[in-house]
């Protein structure tokens, strides 16, 4: 598998020498030292909050280190801005999107280095942007405004933007978190091609199978320090996971429980114009029901419609057997139905607000006596931080100071504070480390065990197969397949998702 062997070259492309970083009094990187061989694909892994993104931002010139040194091709460098880093061929693809929503795809790709003379060459930029996207096998009108793109589309634009900058050292911070398998495959092929062209690639991911498939070398960060740095060959995902968390990890997926006979949620004839048509399904208490499908299949919109966040019509909704009208997230929450958005930054967290108000936003009535009991809120935060393993230096920081994965845990904690009966999780483990992922899986099973109904939407098929007792496959806005038991295999799901197989006469279509 190891083809690069960049390790053996004398001068590393990038060398970190005792790099430390402190935010105020909190040190998050402690003397990080390791080498990245020239022309290799080097994976950087570690738990949420281990300091991966921070280290990469330092390399990319976005943040200064507190001490230590970065050596590029043998030369110590100090980048005072990303501009300076890019001038030396170091390009970073951010974990959080770094796009101007009001500009078009092409305008974003070329922002800061537009083509043309006094007047811009928009035709040229559109063409080249399209070409950059085409390298990723994506066809997207480069004139579309980024605001109108989906999360995965934004991710692809972000990658295209970096690719078009002729990097010598390309840093990718969780580029595949929102991508499907196919898009990931295309990206990997491209990364390998880049490596073959002599580009050094630094790759951060929580998907350890990807790391194994792709990386020549791997560095593991734990709590801001390097615990391993060496060739990837021979390291199984399991080994890597153990290195990350520093102990033996148990089986990823806990045992699936058994649904009860009690109905938790029934949806009959849901239409979300332009996205979902005549959706009918039933979720039992204690059940973990998966929604599978391709990106763009309309799963997110389906549930946004159900919650009243989009225009929709529905024949019938029953929660816990009682007919219920849901026309807003507020009503849904009061009926015991909550939804975790896949778009953490745009719809999930108030990134500039403190952790405490973020946590209690949906459950403020519990703290209103009638004035808000801030101390009780703080206690709730302390509890949640422990329960969900949110890693943060301090409690009184804005959500933006949390690492990506920890933000996700906070968002999850918020909706569970409602103590709901039906929980809809859209991409719940996006950007979450293996350890935490497992914790989330445990949590999901525990919720089901406690008699809740859980719906999981995920682009990771393994996750769905490992978690769910039953899977609905959505294709072009309709339920194309309803799989359970022996049918729960990748093969089956894909056949339904792509239309190779169609749904058998529906069991549930008839209203009861």
């Amino acid at each position: 598998m190891v083809t690069g062997g960049g390790h053996l070259t004398a001068v590393p492309a990038v060398a970190f020498r005792s790099v430390t970083k402190a935010f105020g009094p909190v040190e998050v990187l402690h003397g990080v030292t390791f080498d990245i061989g020239s022309g290799e694909i080097h994976a950087l892994i570690g738990e949420n909050g281990a300091g991966k993104s921070t280290l990469m931002k330092i390399l990319g010139g976005y943040q200064p280190q507190s001490s230590g040194e970065i050596v590029l091709d043998g030369q110590p460098v100090t980048f005072r801005s990303s501009r300076e880093a890019e001038a030396q061929g170091v390009v970073l693809i951010h974990q959080e999107f770094n796009l101007a929503d009001d500009l078009s795809v092409a305008q974003n790709v070329f922002l800061g280095r537009e083509l043309g003379g006094a007047l811009l060459d928009d035709t040229g930029m559109n063409r080249q942007a399209q070409a950059a996207l085409a390298r990723l096998d994506v066809q997207l009108d480069p004139r579309m405004r980024v605001r109108d793109l989906s999360v995965p589309q934004k991710q692809l634009v972000e990658i295209a933007k970096a690719l078009s900058r002729n990097a010598r050292v390309l840093v990718m911070d969780e580029p595949t978190a929102t991508l499907t398998r196919r898009e990931t495959d295309v990206l990997f092929a491209l990364i390998r091609r880049l490596r073959d062209d002599g580009v050094t690639v630094l790759y951060i991911s929580h998907k350890l199978d990807e790391v194994q498939a792709l990386a020549d070398a791997v560095t593991v960060l734990r709590d801001g320090a390097v615990v391993f740095s060496g060739p990837a060959a021979g390291r199984t995902p399991h080994d890597l996971a153990n290195l990350m968390v520093g102990r033996e990890l148990e089986e990823m997926f806990p045992d699936k429980g058994r649904p009860t006979r009690t109905e938790a949620l029934h949806v009959g004839g849901l239409d979300v114009p332009g996205w979902a048509h005549d959706i009918t399904f039933t979720l039992q208490a204690g059940e973990v029901l998966g929604f599978a499908g391709l990106v763009g299949a309309g799963r997110t919109e389906l549930f946004e419609g159900l919650l009243g966040l989009r225009r929709h019509t529905v024949r019938q909704v029953r929660v816990a057997g009682r007919p219920t009208r849901i026309d807003s997230p507020g009503r849904a929450a009061r009926a015991g139905v909550v939804y975790l958005s896949e778009d953490r930054k745009g719809k999930g967290l108030l990134v500039n607000a403190l952790l405490r108000p973020n946590l209690t936003l949906m459950t403020l009535q519990q703290y209103a006596r009638p004035l808000l009991d801030i101390r009780a809120e703080t206690r709730a935060l302390e509890r949640a931080v422990t329960t969900y393993g949110v890693r943060t230096g301090r409690l009184d920081v804005p959500a933006s100071a949390l690492s990506g994965g920890n933000q996700q845990k906070l968002a999850l904690a918020r909706i569970l504070e409602v103590d709901p009966d039906v929980i809809v999780l859209d991409e719940p483990t996006r950007g979450v480390d293996v350890g935490a992922k497992r914790e989330i899986y445990l949590l999901i099973q525990a919720l089901a065990q406690a008699g809740k109904g859980v719906i999981v939407i995920s682009s990771e098929l393994t996750e769905l197969l490992g978690l769910c007792q039953r899977l609905l496959v959505v294709r072009e806005g309709r339920v194309a397949g309803d799989l359970s038991g022996d049918e729960l295999t990748e093969q089956e799901v894909i056949q339904y998702a792509t239309g190779l197989k169609a749904r058998a006469p529906a069991l549930e279509a008839a209203p009861r």
Partner: protein
């Protein structure tokens, strides 16, 4: 989750003392101004002068407390000045009409209630257009700014509307009276500010206002009834304007087309000098209070001294506003 305990949170880390101190910017500005003022004219620090200034600051201050909510929610209300004029005019007309039948206190109470109702109604209108009609707040309130003032001008036929004499005498303690030795307007201002602070920081509604201003979409997904909260916010602004007007009317006993001109800019300036960001999301009532006091003190100092050509009064105000904003920013970042 069971993770090694070394990595758990450390809640006892130091509070951001320095940044707290820094946020005192507007207060420092006010102090500096007071020192300069006292140096220029020692009468500045007399109780009677300070009480004059504070009493005057009450109008703009009370309106600005409402504006703090609106601005934190990510909106703006340009109509407050002409809304005040309209409320004052209508209130006087109503009281005069009822006053014919005699009965001081009752008539005044009815007039006050009507004022509050008109204020709340105007706010409801704004909020509905903005939240449900999805029209920019700037446009809605720019429109109503013109409308309210025009209606008042129409009612007064361009002249002024005056409270009749007996009522005027009965009503005047509301402005000129004292409660425990403190002028009534100051007392009301203090109550409004305290209440405002409490509502903003210690109630669900206040929290929602901040959440919406910070990211409306997130608030919506978190089950906040965004439209309702916005409507309430503009209603609070309307009620604050009405409250300020309740104090305004007994002062001069009249309203005219020039009542309340440019109050919107003063109110917004007070809010922003006080450290609330125009883009919304977070802010503070006490800052607004200080901002209002600061603005009114500048005028007062200029009247108390003749160091500067009268032509340049507005320039001095402009410079002070910019300087205070600068100091505050310096401390903040």
């Amino acid at each position: 989750m069971t993770e090694p305990s070394a990595r758990t949170v450390n809640p006892t880390a130091r509070p951001p003392l320095l940044s707290r101190l820094g946020s005192l910017g507007p207060l420092l500005g006010l102090l500096a101004l007071m020192i300069v003022a006292t140096a220029l004219n020692s009468d500045f620090l007399t109780v009677s002068n300070l009480s004059n200034v504070l009493t005057r600051a009450s109008f703009i201050g009370i309106i600005a407390v409402g504006a703090t909510f609106v601005i934190i929610s990510g909106g703006i209300d340009l109509s407050v000045g002409s809304m005040a004029a309209l409320i004052a005019g209508s209130m006087i007309l109503i009281m005069n009409a009822l006053g014919g039948t005699g009965g001081g206190a009752g008539v005044i109470a009815v007039g006050m209630l009507c004022a509050l109702a008109i204020g709340a109604g105007a706010g409801l209108l704004h909020g509905t257009f903005i939240a449900r009609g999805r029209i920019e707040p700037f446009i809605v309130t720019l429109g109503t700014l013109g409308i309210y003032r025009a209606v008042l001008t129409y009612l007064s036929e361009g002249g002024s509307i005056s409270l009749n004499n007996t009522l005027s005498d009965a009503y005047s303690p509301v402005y000129y009276g004292k409660l425990l030795g403190v002028p009534v307007p100051i007392v009301i201002f203090a109550v409004v500010a305290l209440l405002g602070g409490l509502i903003l920081n210690r109630t669900r509604y206040g929290r929602y206002v901040q959440a919406i201003g910070s990211n409306e979409q997130v608030a919506r997904y978190a089950a906040v009834d965004v439209n309702r909260v916005k409507v309430i916010t503009y209603m609070i602004q309307g009620i604050c304007v009405a409250l300020a007007t309740l104090l305004y009317v007994p002062r001069l006993g009249s309203a005219s087309p020039s009542t309340g001109i440019l109050w919107e800019l003063e109110a917004i300036a007070a809010v922003i000098i006080g450290g609330t960001a125009l883009k919304g999301g977070s802010g503070r009532i006490w800052g607004t209070v200080v901002g209002a006091m600061l603005l009114l003190s500048i005028e007062n100092v200029l009247n108390l001294t003749s160091v500067i050509s009268v032509y340049l009064n507005a320039a001095v105000q402009g410079v002070v506003i910019i300087v205070v904003a600068f100091l505050q920013r310096g401390k903040r970042s």
